[in-house]
């Protein structure tokens, strides 16, 4: 082969998908990194499987459905973006209490995942699950609930440093009037419960939810705020102020279209620099998807239990801020769960038969630039294991549970 971009391609796939899956990097390496980036950004996702069970009855529920979908190497960038929006514009099953409403919201996020942020925010503001989750259901103008008004500004658009109590109260008034019918699940606007004269919100005269969302989106802080969140998601670090401003300008100039922003963030050569490799923890859904694929295990129920135990069950975020990207995913209890998965590794023929079974196990997990300390530990284990089958099983298990595998 002319070039060996496997390490960079593996990095690209860790950040833009839920793999890499065995063989995926090798297949893309023929065209080099540039072609792999094009393939990620311009690829067409594989068709979605049938919807999960939403009402009473047996069958796979949305969390299992999504975990299964993440395992599809053809799911593409839209999957990672849908997961991003689920963490940002988040909603939790416990409070909503209806899979149907959460599933409808999931479709909303999926449909808009690489679409237009203004459109998505307008839709989610009056989405029944979101109305229930952030207490827009019910909220009446005489005594409006401030929850959504605050989070819309603090988490979804402009950031805490731009939020004032006056704007929280004003936004809450203009957002009021919605109610979700608990039998039909339909969100309805009741003018009698809404304000009849506009309020000043973020310097604009606003009467309805739509006005509030537009005012928040058009605030100068919104575009760089959202751009920085996406940058951190893919790069693992905050953008410097110049880059943040550039990306904000781009986002605004593109009319809040998400794809051009993501395209710029992923094509940024800095993404492939040494300081961006393995610079954040893999979150449990990212880790479990790659790890279960590496050990050739398709027990989605078990995989779902593992991500739940690690603390990242889809549709069950810990709070309105979604899931953090921090060190908690590297803690001792997560390390124990990684070892549980590794301890179930089978003997994969390609590792059993390999001249260098350590390298073969690392390749299967797409770790082309493993740390010297981990490689030494693997080589020591290899030397202690004469039986090729036993050796293959343990080496793969050690790689799957390694600290290197825990990083994105």
């Amino acid at each position: 082969m002319a070039v060996d971009d496997r390490a960079a391609i593996a990095h690209l796939l860790r950040r833009t998908g839920f793999g890499p899956f065995p063989g995926q990097v090798e297949a893309l390496n023929a065209g080099g990194l540039a072609a792999a980036v094009d393939a990620v950004l311009n690829g067409t996702p594989s068709p979605l499987p049938a919807a999960p069970t939403l009402d009473d009855g047996d069958g796979e529920r949305p969390p299992e459905w999504w975990i299964r979908r993440m395992r599809d190497p053809g799911a593409g960038l839209v999957e990672k973006m849908t997961w991003f929006w689920h963490g940002l514009l988040t909603t939790e099953y416990f409070k909503v209490g209806s899979w149907r409403q959460l599933w409808d919201q999931h479709q909303l996020l999926r449909r808009n995942a690489l679409g237009n942020y203004r459109t998505m925010l307008q839709e989610i503001t009056i989405d029944p699950a979101m109305l229930i989750y952030l207490d827009g259901d019910p909220s009446e103008a005489v005594d409006p609930n401030e929850n959504y008004s605050r989070e819309l500004q603090e988490l979804f658009t402009i950031g805490v440093e731009h939020v004032t109590e006056e704007n929280v109260k004003a936004g809450a008034k203009a957002l009021a009037g919605w109610d979700v019918n608990w039998q039909t699940g339909v969100a309805t606007f009741y003018p009698a419960h809404a304000i009849s004269t506009p309020v000043m919100f973020l310097g604009r005269s606003c009467l309805r939810a739509e006005d509030v969302v537009n005012a928040a989106i058009d605030h100068p802080a919104c575009a760089p705020f959202v751009a920085a969140k996406l940058y951190r998601y893919f790069h693992g670090v905050e953008p410097d102020p110049t880059r943040k401003a550039q990306l904000g300008d781009l986002f605004r100039a593109e009319g809040y279209e998400i794809f051009p922003l993501v395209d710029a963030i992923i094509r940024d050569p800095a993404l492939f620099g040494a300081d961006r490799r393995f610079n954040r923890a893999r979150t449990p859904v990212e880790y479990a998807s790659a790890a279960f694929a590496a050990i050739a295990n398709d027990d989605i129920r078990w995989e779902t239990d593992v991500v739940d135990e690690m603390g990242q069950l889809p549709f069950f975020p810990p709070n309105v801020a979604g899931w953090p990207l921090g060190n908690r995913w590297l803690a001792a209890n997560v390390a124990v769960l990684r070892a549980h998965i590794g301890n179930e590794a089978p003997a994969i023929p390609a590792i059993v038969d390999a001249a260098d079974p350590v390298q073969a196990a690392l390749d299967r997990c797409a770790l082309y630039e493993v740390s010297p300390r981990t490689r030494d530990a693997l080589n020591t284990a290899r030397a202690a294991l004469p039986n090729p089958t036993v050796r293959a099983r343990m080496l793969l298990g050690l790689v799957v549970s390694s600290p290197d595998m825990a990083l994105a």
Partner: protein
């Protein structure tokens, strides 16, 4: 050490202990109640459920009438409040109440300041900002997963130890990743080094959990909070008596063994056992069960002055949903726990709740 006994599902404190001289109580629950002549008297107005005869002889403190202001009927919302320490539901927290205690008292070098002994993994109640908390199954004995075969096990563990050797010379994320493995191994080693206890525990979930708590105490590895999610169907909308009687039997067997072992080791004054549940149950019965309610009775043991604390809610003046009105807030109850741990309540709870006085020894 604080041992938290979580009774998720909505435990009816007023079936665990019975206000057996209150005619209103029996009018509301003509068949879903323990008769006055069956209870074990505590103070002339409150009596133990008869299944609790062994712990009735142990030093126990009961706090009556504990609940939140602005109550909600949802398990999940109310569990969230109890996990996060959000007494009236208006101050969501990004960490758990017990996690904040771990942050306040934790030794950064301890392999685990907080331990959850559940079967479902970590609990939001132990979510911390910085302290290390570990979830372990009481059946696993906290052992790091490894192959069964002894030779393979040695090779596997040697490799894990080598990979779990943190080095500041590496990038900070790699250091943290290795440090997580290091902590898991250290915790596993500390537990493995302990002699087995010969103290007899019942072969129940709670028995296994509490036996493990004593092992954690004896391990002396800096664990300060152990979270024990108790199994059993507390959510007794139907057939309350049969369901609840069974749970009380399990509680009596396991807690009596635990308190006995603590006493034999001289640890009683170092350990506070404290129960909580997201809510009590409805004042009046349905056909043969009790729906979701509000105020309940919390149980404390270990380093306590035995007795009945708090305040009895009225069984005649109910709220508009037919529920007991809680005279004692979650904050005042939780303040007892944080104070025991030497943590000022105002630093871990919204507002500045005053602990229910007199409960904790020393």
């Amino acid at each position: 050490m604080l041992v938290v006994l979580e009774m998720a599902g909505g435990h009816d404190g007023y079936s665990m202990v019975v206000p057996y001289r209150d005619p209103a109580y029996y009018r509301l629950r003509p068949t879903v109640s323990t008769s006055a002549n069956a209870v074990i008297d505590i103070n002339g107005s409150l009596g133990w459920h008869p299944a609790l005869d062994r712990i009735s002889r142990r030093p126990i403190a009961l706090v009556e009438g504990v609940g939140g202001a602005n109550p909600n009927g949802s398990h999940f919302e109310m569990l969230r409040r109890w996990w996060q320490g959000d007494p009236d539901g208006r101050n969501p927290q990004s960490t758990g109440f017990f996690g904040r205690i771990c942050d306040a008292v934790g030794d950064p070098a301890a392999p685990a300041t907080g331990v959850s002994l559940g079967w479902g993994g970590t609990t939001p109640a132990l979510a911390t900002r910085s302290a290390v908390t570990v979830a372990m199954s009481p059946w696993s004995d906290a052992q790091f997963p490894a192959p069964w075969d002894a030779g393979l096990r040695a090779t596997w563990m040697a490799a894990q130890r080598a990979m779990g050797n943190p080095d500041r010379a590496e990038a900070v994320t790699m250091y943290n990743a290795r440090y997580g493995v290091y902590n898991a191994l250290r915790f596993s080693d500390a537990i493995a080094a302990l002699p087995d206890s010969s103290w007899p525990y019942p072969q129940t979930g709670l028995g296994a959990q509490l036996a493990t708590v004593v092992r954690l105490i004896r391990a002396d590895i800096g664990t300060r909070v152990v979270f024990v999610p108790m199994g059993g169907n507390f959510d007794s909308h139907e057939s309350h008596r049969g369901t609840h009687d069974g749970i009380m039997n399990e509680l009596d067997d396991a807690l009596d063994a635990f308190l006995g072992e603590l006493a034999s080791l001289g640890f009683t004054d170092r350990v506070l056992v404290a129960s909580f549940s997201e809510f009590g149950r409805r004042a009046d019965q349905n056909t043969d069960g009790l729906d979701h309610g509000t105020a309940s009775v919390m149980l404390l043991a270990g380093a306590v002055n035995p007795g009945v604390y708090g305040q009895r809610p009225s069984f005649t003046a109910l709220d508009r949903d037919g529920n007991l009105i809680a005279p004692v807030g979650m904050g005042e109850y939780y303040a007892v726990l944080s104070s025991f741990m030497g943590v000022p309540p105002s630093s871990v709870l919204p507002g500045n709740p005053v602990p229910v006085p007199g409960i904790v020894t020393a």
